[in-house]
Amino acid sequence: MANKAKTAGKKQEKDKAIDEKTKNVLDIRDMQLYFQTGKGIVQAVDKVSFALERGKSMVIVGESGCGKTSLGRAILRLLPENVYKYEGSCLLNGVDIMEYKNEKFRKEIRWKRAALVPQSSMNSLNPVLKVSDQVAEPILIHDLAETKEEARDKAAEAFKKVGVPVDFLDRYPFELSGGMRQRVAIATSLVTDPDFIILDEPTSALDMLTQANIMNVLTRLKEEIDISFILITHDVSTSSEIADMAAIMYAGQIVEFTDAYTFFGTPLHPYSERLMASVPTLEADDEELGFIPGQPPSLINPPEGCRFAERCEEEMELCSEEPPTFEMDDGRTVKCWLYREGGERDGNNK
């Protein structure tokens, strides 16, 4: 009896050790993804590093062409054929999945541990299959259910989680509204019970009320089940609904990675500042909206130094060299020379 208690205690200790080691569900270091094109090499994702704690959610914000979708696809290794360089490390629960062979990755990681809801996936449901078959498909492919009936039950469960009535199981996609189809797409990613889900622009094609509905579903899921969301979007406002962490991406690099709470109040990087100033709000009175003149640099031959320098109002000589990522006292990181002194911004430049 005493022996048993002892082993149980040991097991707990061991669990604790694992927990400590895998505090982060996802830990990405120096991820690089380059594409070969006719015009040259596109540096879509360039030395991106971030870590996401278990149960937390994050948002990757950036303009179109900044590489945010490529980053999402790089994590799940859903790559096109013209990849030139795909490097870095990606720790999932403490294990480097970049080392996995493609077949092993497909069998053990993709969809089982990490799922993706691609952009406009609500419009890519197969029109001639019932939605239940499409939601159940990942279960059957990954042998998570023995019979079709069991898979269907699991699909029904996922439907309940996202708030689609169960009698919609036998419907075809065209019989559902846009919001319902988006929920079905999210259900498809939930059925295998992954550790995290990447959602690429989940609400950008939807109406305001439907958008709010989908964000409510995600917020509720986050509370009910232990899951992390990685939201890829250009819409700062809606992302504030579920994000604990925020990563700001500009021209293939993460220029700022902070907790969302401080980010929405005081963004650090000049780019994030200007981006936040250009978000229209309902309450603010009459103040003029800002915009960022110019356009993001081409990722084929990005500028040598800071990639935002030419659009930045606070450009200085140092900016012709690439800034490293500085860590603030409170753990926020920012890739800008203004913060080379630590927590406070360089006084001369403000």
Binding site: D207, L209, N213, M215, V236, S278, P280, F291, I292, P293
Partner: protein, 339 residues
């Protein structure tokens, strides 16, 4: 119903655009009541936003005003003439008075035409034969839009321009015929946040300089305040609320408008702890709209026996504010003519 307002540019009286649905090409099934009894007025040089969700009929209303769809019933009065009853030639003249800024600049610019050709096209169609005159007009417009040096742009093709520049070309094209009204259908929804404001400011600047009337169609209530003085909220083929923007944002009257305002996300870290309040259900089918008020199946303030039976008329709820909702039945009823 003549009006004494000299400033009036556009007025609709009970405007309806219905589309017939047929089965197998000949059996009548019913009508999609996309635009169902709209009374609006628009002054010269005024900027109004038309807000509604997809499928509420806002694009159909815009296309009816632009003369692309023939109205089924009602009057569309532009500068005192009823457009609905006009012949083809005056229709063409009318269409040239309205500029259209499309939603998607990538799709709106033909890829095989140079920018010069794209900008010339509306003038060629409208019979401006003198090439020098056309070029002069193009130069004027391009300079107004700050797309200089003009010559460099004219030789380019759409794919050589960024999204923001393409949208400027679309705006330039809508302006070359010196229209009196610009119809801007979600002009910035395809653009990035940082460019968005730039384009909105540009349209605003042109609007005030040229004293253009602008109808800004959008589903994004948060940009409306920066852009328009007045707002029309559309739901299920009808205008449910008309109001100055500021008053509406402060104190929305119609339950649908309230729901819309509550659903908007602000960039605020506290959001993470809260849920949005969203009315249940979905917008009605316009083929078979619900009886009475079209919002009543989703409305939390529904009055049994009234809202589900009778269509609410327009009630005056404040200075220049009207709403079609039975909650305000004690207020003064507005006649057939909108304010």
């Amino acid at each position: 119903m003549a009006t004494t307002n000299n400033n009036l540019l556009l007025q609709t009286n009970d405007l309806k655009t219905w589309f017939e649905i047929k089965k197998w090409g000949f059996l009548h099934v019913g009508h999609v009541r996309a635009v169902d009894g709209i009374n609006i007025t628009l002054d010269r040089g005024e900027s109004v936003s038309l807000v509604g969700e997809s499928g509420c009929g806002k694009s159909s209303l815009a296309k009816t005003i632009m003369g692309i769809h023939q109205p089924t019933e009602g009057e569309l009065i532009f500068e005192g003439n009823n457009i609905a009853a006009q012949d083809e030639e005056s229709m063409r003249q009318y269409k040239s008075e309205i500029g259209f800024v499309q939603q998607d600049p990538y799709g709106a610019l033909p890829p095989f035409m140079s920018i010069q050709r794209i900008l010339e096209e509306p003038m060629i169609v409208n019979g401006i034969k003198d090439k020098n005159k056309r070029l002069k007009r193009i130069h004027e417009v391009m300079q107004e839009l700050k797309m200089t040096p003009v010559e460099d742009f004219l030789k380019k093709y759409p794919h050589m321009l960024s999204g923001g520049q393409q949208q400027r070309i679309v705006i330039a094209r809508s302006l070359v015929l010196n229209p009196k009204l610009i119809m801007a259908d979600e002009p910035v929804s395809m653009l990035d946040a940082s460019v968005r404001v730039e384009i909105l400011e540009l349209i605003k600047k042109i609007q005030s300089e040229r004293e253009l009337a602008v109808i800004y169609i959008t589903h994004d209530l948060s940009t409306v305040r920066y852009f328009s003085e007045r707002i029309w909220v559309m739901y299920g083929g009808k205008i449910v609320e008309q109001s100055p923007v500021r008053d509406l944002l402060k104190e929305p009257a119609h339950p649908y408008t309230r729901a819309l305002l509550e659903a908007i996300s602000e960039p605020d870290a506290d959001n993470i702890h809260s849920f949005k309040k969203v009315p249940p259900g979905e917008p009605p089918s316009l083929l078979n709209p619900p009886r009475g008020c079209r919002f009543h199946p989703r409305c939390e303030h529904k009055i049994e026996g009234l809202c589900d039976q009778e269509i609410p008329p327009d009630f005056e709820v404040g200075n220049e504010r009207i709403t079609a909702c039975w909650l305000f039945k004690d207020e003064e009823e507005v006649g057939d003519v909108a304010i």
